[in-house]
Structures are given as structure tokens and as C-alpha cells.
């Protein structure tokens, strides 16, 4: 039985071979990458989940960031240098985010970092960026109640997405709300805000439920919704990722259509609609600052560039747009400061404006962007019909409906004010 | 039948009306049995008579459906396996069962330990090397004392397990087919070993090898269909027609 004698050897070989096939090319590419010698490029970090649960959302954000960098490089780079992106995988694991952030700062000596999606990952890297006096650009809509000197937030603050959408629902769709969310901080905090807001504005929460991230068994929730809203009502949905698919297919399966049960989602964008299937979502609503269908020249250019780079079937969405914006704002700030030095860039970033796909945005001294709020309704092709749009809304990181933070604001341009100060009435 | 035991010898084991039933099948059926201290008893009986099941009850592996089992006056039925073992009952299984990843030496050491609590095992100090060496010599495994016991041949495992029971130094030794797979000479050696052990231990031996039974037997108990068929000296039992009928076979019984 000589063949079994050699099996170890064979397996070893097979494995090596497999590895070779999968990786050989990458090794090659890696080594041939920077055509320009060290020091002639400016390194920036890109830190998102490329594996694990969050990869679903975060990989496209990376695509957008890479696109922006590529465009900037093609246009001559920044300060005459090319930008070199160092990509790290946060692997949907918060400690890993912290580890990789440290690595980018300490080992790679990057000029700045673009990254994170979940608030948990942002909270995990926040101490790293603060203790190392470094800088993170964060592209996703979030729950607010934070204003770090070391982070620029280019997604919506609650008053730029959640609050206007609740108001719109109250005005147009009904007063009884059922809140569904994934079981983590953004939905929980968002719902805290919504409850405070509804109380102030005369709405009512009839039920609330949370699904563990990634869970797809939504039968009990559907039952609860039917029980709590027998005659229809508003579903406010902050479910993330996978769970949405189950939720909407079953919502339809159970006969709860958007006519009687309109839903407002704050984590469903074009990509998710594709994954869920437009036929399940048609007629439901989402609130964002940007939709792929926004009709601006800048957006047209953005979408075209993106599709040319990644394929005609790809779609763009709000976090991708926010990610695209932040790379440009950083570039403008660096150019204004004339250096990549963190503090100078931070100062220079204040007041930067950018003709973004969603419209003209401005970076505030509270590290958030002034943005447009839009309500979209899902069309049969899976894109959104923008049915309501506001003028640019200034960001309020500290929520004005929640008692603890009412009356607080943030201003990093003034050392006397800082991250959380009481506004004089 | 034999004369009743003298009043001076205490009965170490008393079993009354022992019944074990598995889904209605009675492996033991109203068995009555008793054993004097210091006795060497051989139990024979057809395959499936319930001999092993009997030992299973004695060691706590099987809980009886009915009946009483008293060992040194204590009821064994409520006790757990390890408690019974610590009361002084040691067993060799029918198919040898040794710790495969421990060497014969370690197997014996494990059985020698007198205090088997968690902390006494952890903190206790003992040096048993000499005792173990002697025992290894007795069971003929001196030259294989360091290899994992799982690699021993069948016969060697039999020997090792006998050694483990001896090391345990129980009051009552239960030996289930301990010479199966041994050569005639080794069987004889085992017989001698058992007889020397019998000087200060109570022993129950289960066997099918009639030569061996004749060598060691004083009193023989025959089980059949879970109950006592007969009891007596080797010659008495051997010539009992019922025993010949169900067990020995009519033509040429070995021994």
C-alpha cells in the first residue's frame, strides 16, 4: 500500500499548489505595486471589513474610496504626490479594527485613515485615534451622541436622516409606529431618539423588536406586527444586512404590503434592494442623503465612473457616496494646509465644500457635513424615486430630543468649546 | 451439597432475589447468592446465563429491577460505581479494558493509589516504584512497561487488567474470564496466582475453561437463565446432568 505511505506528501503538495494558484498572482501584484519610490507617495489607510458579516456592506465602500483615490491620482495626486492606499481587513471584529488601526498608524505611518461602518467598530478604534492623535474619516449614517476631535463624520447625523423621516411619516403615513431593528447600538439608539421624538410630536410606538445581527428568522416579529397593528400602520425599520431580506420577503408573504404597512428603512440602500429583490420592496420607503437616482451632474459623473471601474451592473448608494466625498474633502484639506500633518489638515477641513453627487456639502466645525435629506420610494427597477427632498440640513451630533444631550453642541475650531458644550439659549 | 459455612466466617456478600430486566428480558431472574469472606468461588454457566450482568450489578454498572445486594452489610444498590469500588470491590472486565494511552506502569500506578479523592490525588506524595516493579514482574510486562497499553496484544491486556485489580487491593475480586486467550501454561500460572491471592482475598471467578476451573475450584456455582442452577464442588457440578445438558455438552467436555 505504497500510495497511503505518501499521502501526507501529496496533501502537502496539493495544499501548496492550491495556495500557489490562489496567491501567486497576488504576491506578484503586491510587489509590483508602487511604481513610485517610497516618500514620493502619500499613504492613507483604508480600514473596513472585507470578511465576516459586515463585508456585505463594507466592500462597496472600499470600492468607492478606491475610486476616489484613483481619480485623484489620475488628476495629479495631492501635493504633487500620488496617494497609496493601504487596505486592512477589520474582519467584522471590533478588536481587530483596533489592532489594524494601530498597525496603520504605527507601522505604515499613514497620513489619515478612511474606514469603519458599524458604530461598534468606530467606538473600538476611537481610543486608538485619540491616544495617537490621529485621524479617521467615517462614512456611514450613525446614531450621533459623539463628536471626536479625531474623527470626521461624513454620513448623516440623526437629524439629517432619522428625525426628518419620522416627521415625514407623521405627516404623511400615520401616527402608530412599530420599530424593528438589528440588535446593536445604532438601531437601539436610533429608536431611543425616535421614541423621544414621537412623544414630543404626538406619535405612538406600539411595539419594538430587535433581531440579532445576521438572524433571518423573523416569523415572531411579523406576528407581533400583525397583533400590534391589526389595521395597518408604520413600520420603522433599522434592520441591517441579511435580516432585511427575510423581513421583507416574509412581510410580503404574510400579506403586509406597503399600502397598509408602509415601512421606512434607514439601512436599506440600492445595494440592499438588489439583494432583497425589488419585487418585495416596491412601494416601501427609505431615508438617505443620497440616492443613485439623484439628478445632479456630479452624480451622473460619479455613477458613470463607478460603473466603468467596477462593472455596469453595479449600483451606488449613500455610504459609498459619503465615502467618496470624504476622500475628496481630505484631499482638499491637505491641499489647503499644504501638508498632511494631522492637526493642520483638521483645521483646514473646516468649511471645505465639495460638489458632491448629492449636492454641495460643507464640513462643519463639529466634524459633520451639512447634507441634504431625501425620502425615496422603491421603484420596480430597484432604484429609488425621490419623493421628498429638503434643503441642506446642518448636522447636530448631540441629539435635541434626548434629554441628556438637549442643548449641547460641538465645535472643535474653538478650544474653549470642544466636543460637548452647552449652548447658551 | 456442601456443609454450611462455619459460624465464624462472616458472609461478605449476600444477594437476595436479584432480578435484572431489560425491556422485559430477564437477564437475572430471582437470583439468590452468598459468599463467605475469604472464599474463592467459580461461577460458570452458558453464554448469556447472566454472569456478566451479575458482576454489573455488583459493581454498580447496572441497577437491578428487584432484589437486595449486601456487601459487608451495606446495600450496594444505592451506591455509585466509584463508591462501590472504594468499599473494596475490584473488577476485571470480560473484554480487557485498560487505559489505552497510559503505559502499563501508569495503569498500575493509577490503581495503586489508596486515596482516590481529587485533592488527595493532587497533593498526595507516594513512591510506588518498587511495588509496581514487582507487580509488572508478576504479570510479565516488565519489558513493555513504557509503551501505551493500547498497543499490547490481547493476552497482554488480559494480564495487565489482572494486575490492575490486584493493585487496587480490594476485599472482593471479580474476575470475568481472565484466562481467555491465554496459552495453557499461562492459564496455569494465572490459576496459581489466583490461588495465592485467595489466601487473603475473597474472589469470584467466571470461566468457561474447565481445565482452569478444575485447577482452582473449591465451590462452583452454575447460573442458567439468570437463576441458580446448582452449586457444589467441581466434581459434583461436572457430573450434574442438568449442567451437562445446558452447558458442558454430552460428548467430550474439556477437563
Amino acid at each position: 500500500m505504497a500510495h497511503s505511505l505518501n499521502r501526507r506528501q501529496l496533501i502537502k503538495m496539493g495544499a501548496l499548489a492550491g495556495a500557489g494558484v490562489a496567491l501567486g498572482p497576488h504576491l506578484w501584484v503586491k510587489r509590483s505595486l508602487p511604481a513610485y519610490a517610497q516618500g514620493e507617495t502619500i499613504r492613507v489607510g483604508i480600514l473596513h471589513s472585507l470578511s465576516g458579516t459586515m463585508a456585505i456592506s463594507e466592500t462597496s465602500v472600499v470600492d468607492a474610496e478606491r475610486l476616489a483615490i484613483k481619480e485623484i491620482n489620475a488628476a495629479g495626486g495631492v501635493l504633487g504626490k500620488q496617494i497609496e492606499a493601504i487596505v486592512e481587513d477589520g474582519a467584522s471584529d471590533w478588536p481587530t479594527f483596533a489592532e489594524k488601526a494601530t498597525k496603520l498608524i504605527d507601522s505604515d505611518k499613514v497620513a489619515t485613515v478612511f474606514g469603519c461602518w458599524t458604530s461598534a467598530s468606530r467606538k473600538a478604534v476611537l481610543p486608538v485615534f485619540e491616544s495617537k492623535q490621529h485621524q479617521l474619516w467615517y462614512p456611514v449614517q450613525y446614531e450621533g451622541q459623539e463628536c471626536s476631535k479625531n474623527i470626521f463624520y461624513t454620513g448623516a447625523a440623526p437629524n439629517q436622516q432619522i428625525e426628518p423621516s419620522v416627521e415625514w411619516l407623521l405627516n404623511n403615513k400615520g401616527k402608530e409606529f412599530f420599530l424593528v431593528g438589528s440588535d446593536y447600538v445604532f438601531p437601539r439608539t436610533a429608536n431611543t431618539i425616535i421614541k423621544a421624538q414621537l412623544e414630543a410630536l404626538g406619535g405612538k410606538v406600539v411595539g419594538e423588536d430587535y433581531l440579532p445581527l445576521g438572524n433571518t428568522e423573523v416569523t415572531p416579529i411579523i406576528s407581533k406586527i400583525r397583533a400590534a397593528l391589526p389595521n395597518g400602520g408604520v413600520i420603522y425599520n433599522s434592520l441591517n444586512g441579511d435580516s432585511n431580506v427575510a423581513f421583507f420577503t416574509q412581510l410580503q408573504g404574510a400579506g403586509l404590503g406597503p399600502d397598509r404597512y408602509p415601512s421606512m428603512s434607514v439601512s436599506i440602500a440600492e445595494e440592499e434592494v438588489q439583494a432583497i429583490g425589488p419585487e418585495f420592496l416596491e412601494g416601501h420607503y427609505a431615508a438617505w442623503n443620497y440616492f443613485m437616482t439623484v439628478d445632479t451632474p456630479a452624480n451622473k459623473k460619479f455613477v458613470e465612473a463607478f460603473r466603468a471601474e467596477y462593472g455596469q451592473n453595479r449600483v451606488t448608494n449613500d455610504p459609498m457616496e459619503a465615502a467618496y466625498i470624504m476622500v475628496y474633502i481630505w484631499k482638499q484639506a491637505v491641499e489647503k494646509a499644504g501638508t498632511v500633518e494631522i492637526d493642520a489638515v483638521r483645521q483646514a477641513a473646516y468649511g471645505q465644500t465639495f460638489d458632491a453627487p448629492e449636492g454641495m456639502v460643507t464640513m462643519n466645525t463639529n466634524h459633520h457635513l451639512t447634507k441634504y435629506v431625501r425620502i425615496g420610494q422603491v421603484r420596480s427597477d430597484g432604484l429609488f424615486e425621490v419623493i421628498s427632498a429638503t434643503d441642506a440640513v446642518d448636522p447636530l451630533p448631540w441629539n435635541q430630543f434626548v434629554a441628556e444631550t438637549k442643548g449641547y453642541a460641538c465645535d472643535w475650531s474653538d478650544p474653549a468649546k470642544g466636543g460637548r458644550y452647552k449652548v447658551e439659549a | 451439597m456442601l456443609t454450611a459455612a462455619p459460624a465464624a466466617t462472616r458472609q461478605i456478600l449476600q444477594i437476595q432475589d436479584l432480578t435484572v430486566s431489560f425491556d422485559g428480558f430477564k437477564a437475572l431472574n430471582g437470583l439468590n447468592f452468598s459468599l463467605d469472606e475469604g472464599e474463592l468461588r467459580v461461577v460458570i454457566g452458558p453464554n448469556g446465563a447472566g454472569k456478566t450482568t451479575f458482576l454489573d450489578v455488583l459493581t454498580g454498572k447496572v441497577k437491578p429491577t428487584k432484589g437486595r445486594v449486601l456487601f459487608k452489610g451495606k446495600d450496594l444498590i444505592k451506591l455509585k460505581e466509584y463508591q462501590i469500588s472504594n468499599l473494596g470491590i475490584g473488577r476485571k472486565f470480560q473484554t480487557p479494558r485498560v487505559y489505552q494511552n497510559l503505559s502499563p506502569r501508569q495503569n498500575l500506578e493509577l490503581s495503586f493509589n489508596p486515596n482516590k479523592g481529587v485533592f488527595s490525588t493532587l497533593l498526595g506524595k507516594r513512591d510506588l516504584t518498587d511495588k509496581i516493579d514487582a507487580l509488572l514482574e508478576t504479570i510479565g510486562l516488565t519489558h513493555k512497561d513504557r509503551i501505551p497499553a493500547g498497543l499490547l496484544s490481547h493476552g497482554e491486556k488480559q494480564w495487565l487488567e489482572i494486575g490492575m485489580v490486584i493493585a487496587q487491593d480490594p476485599n472482593l475480586l471479580l474476575l470475568d474470564e481472565c484466562v481467555a486467550g491465554m496459552t495453557d501454561k499461562e492459564t496455569e500460572a494465572t490459576g496459581e496466582l489466583i490461588q495465592s491471592l485467595a489466601k487473603d482475598h475473597t474472589i469470584v471467578v467466571i470461566e468457561h475453561d474447565m481445565v482452569f476451573v478444575r485447577q482452582i475450584a473449591r465451590k462452583v456455582t452454575v447460573l442458567h437463565q439468570g437463576a441458580l442452577l446448582c452449586e457444589g464442588s467441581f466434581e459434583e457440578v461436572k457430573n450434574d446432568p442438568r449442567v451437562i445438558e445446558v452447558y458442558l455438552g454430552s460428548h467430550k467436555a474439556k477437563g
Binding site: K12, A15, A19, A22, L23, H26, K30, L50, S51, V87, D89, A91, D93, W94, P95, A98, E99, K100, T102, K103, D106, S107, K123, A124, L126, P127, Q145, D183, Y184, V185, R188, T189, P212, L213, E404 | T59, K61, K80, E81, Y82, N86, R91, Y99, Q100, N101, L102, S103, Q106, L110, S111, N113, K116, G117, V118, T121, R126, R146, P148, M164, Q168
Partner: protein, 369 residues
């Protein structure tokens, strides 16, 4: 495969001395040489991975030696981590409560946080809470003779319970985000380099202590009974031992080690979150031990450090496809090195040594000619 159970031959003293010498040598090298040789970032990683090797030791104790495969050690790890995390979160000026509470409108510190103001109580909690939880769980499980996959699945169920609980209780323990944003310990900035080095050294000391503890438990008669339980637990009962006590003890001990590891890891990573209680992390722990070599304590430490460094380096160099390697690595180890690295060194190393000796002898024979 077989345990390297210690043989009491005349030169066992000699061997013990040698082992002690090597241990001291390694500890000293880690403390004095490593910082000089690697960047502070890598040193910090090494510190973390050494912390993880403490859990690995615990897993080896229960899985490698006793045969209890726990797929839930992340819970004990996280309990230790949370205990220290709470203490670190409470390093605040008078009466203020950790910032995250305000997110959920909590204004009063939940009662169970109070003891963690005190470092001694925290230190006790780090070890004691996991140990007690494990002892209670272990007792219930082991007493009912739940073994093998049933035990593994049960630990997994426990993990899910704890995970969902910690993940869902934002108002008590900050949910998914976990505890982070640590600033000071004993009034010293936890991010200062002195503090970092002190923690690094502490970790090494704890690894050494954990090693000694496991070494003590696994050598001698006690260790042999563990192996016997792994091989044939029912038989052990007939030998007069009650396996329950033994199993509960090692399970609790390994949970205690996990708690310590969790605390040291949290301190060095700056965050503890329910992710540490996720199933994959617990499985990874087992993989470290398998890679290093089951039933080898050195193997557990080496496995934990190597696998984690491999993971770090692979994901840095191939952020997009590193999982291919990680998965391939596990496959390779299981198929090609069934006894782990240490097992491989033991067998192949011996062979190489023999070949080398032969070769030397042949050389010596031929050279005069």
C-alpha cells in the same frame, strides 16, 4: 499522541531542572530581548497573543488532556475581560459614570458595577467569576454524565446565551459596542509606553505561572487520571475515582485561566466586546491548541502565538483573500500534522536526529581513510 507523562527515572530531576532553566530563559528572553528586536506594534501584538496563550493552556488542559472539548471558552475569557473593563471604565472623576450610559439615558450606575471601583475586588472577580460560572456549569453537566459532543454543544449553547445577553443589554453593559475607551489604571495612562511594557511583562509572568499550574496538574497521578478520563471515563469509576470532581476542577481551572487571559488581552487591546463570546472565537481557541499539538503545554503556547501571528500577517499582506490561507492553514495542520507542531517535532525531529547521527558517524568512519 501519548502523553509525555513524566517518568520517574533517576534523571528526572535533571530533566526537571532543564525544563525550569528553559522556562526561565524563555521568560527572560521575552522580557529583555524581544523589545529590542521588534517594533512596539509587534511587541504589543506579541503581548496580546501571549495573553491568548493562557486560554490555550486552559483549553489544552481540558481538551488535550481530559478530552472535554469546550466550544464556549470565549465566555470565560470575556467575563475576565469585562471585569477588568468595568474597572477601567470606572477610572473617572468623582461620581461620573461611563459616557456610553448617556446614549441610553441611564443616569445611575447599575449596582453590579460598584464593586469594580476597587482593584482588589476586580482582580478577584477576574479569576473568580469565570471559575465559579464554570464550576457551576461544569458540575451540572458532568454530574449528569454529559460527555463528548453533547458537552461541546452544551458549551456552545451557553455561549449563545451569554452572547445574546451581553449583546442585548445596552443599558447595563453597552451591548455590541462592548467596553472601550480605557484611560488609566492605577492613575497611569494605559496607553503610555511604560504601562504597556509593564502589562507586557505581567502577561509573560502570568503565562509562566499558568504554564506551571498546568504542568503541575498534568504531571503525576492527577494528570494520568485526566488522561484516563479522556480514554475511558466509565472505566475510571470502576477504578474507584469519581470523574466529576476531577473534571469540574480542571474545567473551573481552565475557565479561571481564560478569565486572566481575557483581562490581560482587554488591557492590551483596549476593548472587550461580546464578540469575544462569539462561537468562531471559541473555535479558534481550540484550533490554536490543535496547531500547537494537543496534550502538549508548550504546543498550546506556541500554537496560540503562531496562529495569531499568522493571522495578523496574512490579513495584513492579503487583506482581501487572507481567509484562503487561514482556512488552508487549518486544513494543512490537521491533515499533515495530526499531532500538531510539537508532535511533528517529536516524531520528525527524532528521525532527523537519528539520520543526522548516522550521517555523522559515517563521516567519522570515512574521514580517516
Amino acid at each position: 499522541m501519548a502523553t509525555p507523562a513524566q517518568r520517574r527515572d533517576p534523571n528526572s530531576r535533571h530533566k526537571l531542572l532543564l525544563e525550569g532553566g528553559i522556562l526561565v530563559g524563555v521568560v527572560l528572553a521575552l522580557i529583555f530581548l524581544a523589545p529590542a528586536m521588534v517594533s512596539s506594534f509587534r511587541l504589543n501584538l506579541l503581548g496580546r497573543f501571549l495573553a491568548l496563550s493562557i486560554v490555550a493552556l486552559g483549553i489544552d488542559l481540558i481538551w488535550g488532556y481530559t478530552g472535554m472539548l469546550s466550544l464556549g471558552h470565549g465566555v470565560f475569557f470575556a467575563l475576565g475581560g469585562y471585569a477588568l473593563g468595568m474597572h477601567l471604565n470606572l477610572q473617572l472623576p468623582d461620581g461620573r459614570i461611563p459616557e456610553f450610559f448617556s446614549l441610553y439615558g441611564v443616569t445611575e450606575l447599575p449596582w453590579f458595577w460598584r464593586p469594580f471601583y476597587s482593584f482588589p475586588l476586580t482582580a478577584i472577580a477576574i479569576v473568580l467569576i469565570p471559575t465559579l460560572v464554570a464550576a457551576a456549569l461544569g458540575y451540572l453537566v458532568v454530574r449528569n454524565r454529559i460527555r463528548g459532543v453533547y458537552f461541546s454543544i452544551l458549551t456552545q449553547a451557553t455561549t449563545i446565551i451569554f452572547f445574546n445577553f451581553f449583546n442585548g443589554q445596552q443599558r447595563l453593559i453597552n451591548g455590541t459596542n462592548g467596553l472601550t475607551d480605557f484611560r488609566t489604571l492605577f492613575g497611569i495612562n494605559v496607553n503610555s509606553s511604560e504601562m504597556r511594557f509593564a502589562v507586557y511583562v505581567t502577561t509573560i509572568v502570568f503565562v509562566a505561572l499558568a504554564y506551571l499550574l498546568c504542568r503541575w496538574l498534568t504531571s503525576g497521578l492527577f494528570g494520568r487520571i485526566l488522561v484516563a478520563i479522556r480514554d475511558d471515563e466509565p472505566r475510571v469509576r470502576f477504578s474507584g475515582y469519581d470523574p466529576t470532581g476531577f473534571k469540574v476542577l480542571v474545567f473551573a481551572a481552565s475557565a479561571g485561566l481564560a478569565g486572566i487571559a481575557g483581562a490581560l488581552f482587554t488591557l492590551q487591546t483596549g476593548i472587550i466586546s461580546p464578540n469575544a463570546m462569539s462561537i468562531p472565537f471559541s473555535i479558534e481557541m481550540v484550533i490554536w491548541v490543535a496547531v500547537g499539538g494537543r496534550a502538549s503545554l508548550v504546543g498550546a503556547v506556541i500554537g496560540a502565538v503562531l496562529v495569531n501571528f499568522a493571522k495578523s500577517l496574512l490579513s495584513e499582506n492579503f487583506p482581501e483573500i487572507w481567509l484562503f490561507f487561514q482556512g488552508g492553514l487549518f486544513l494543512l495542520v490537521v491533515l499533515v500534522l495530526p499531532d500538531g507542531l510539537v508532535g511533528w517535532v517529536r516524531t520528525q525531529g527524532k528521525q532527523l536526529w537519528v539520520t543526522f547521527q548516522l550521517w555523522r558517524r559515517r563521516l567519522a568512519d570515512t574521514s580517516p581513510a
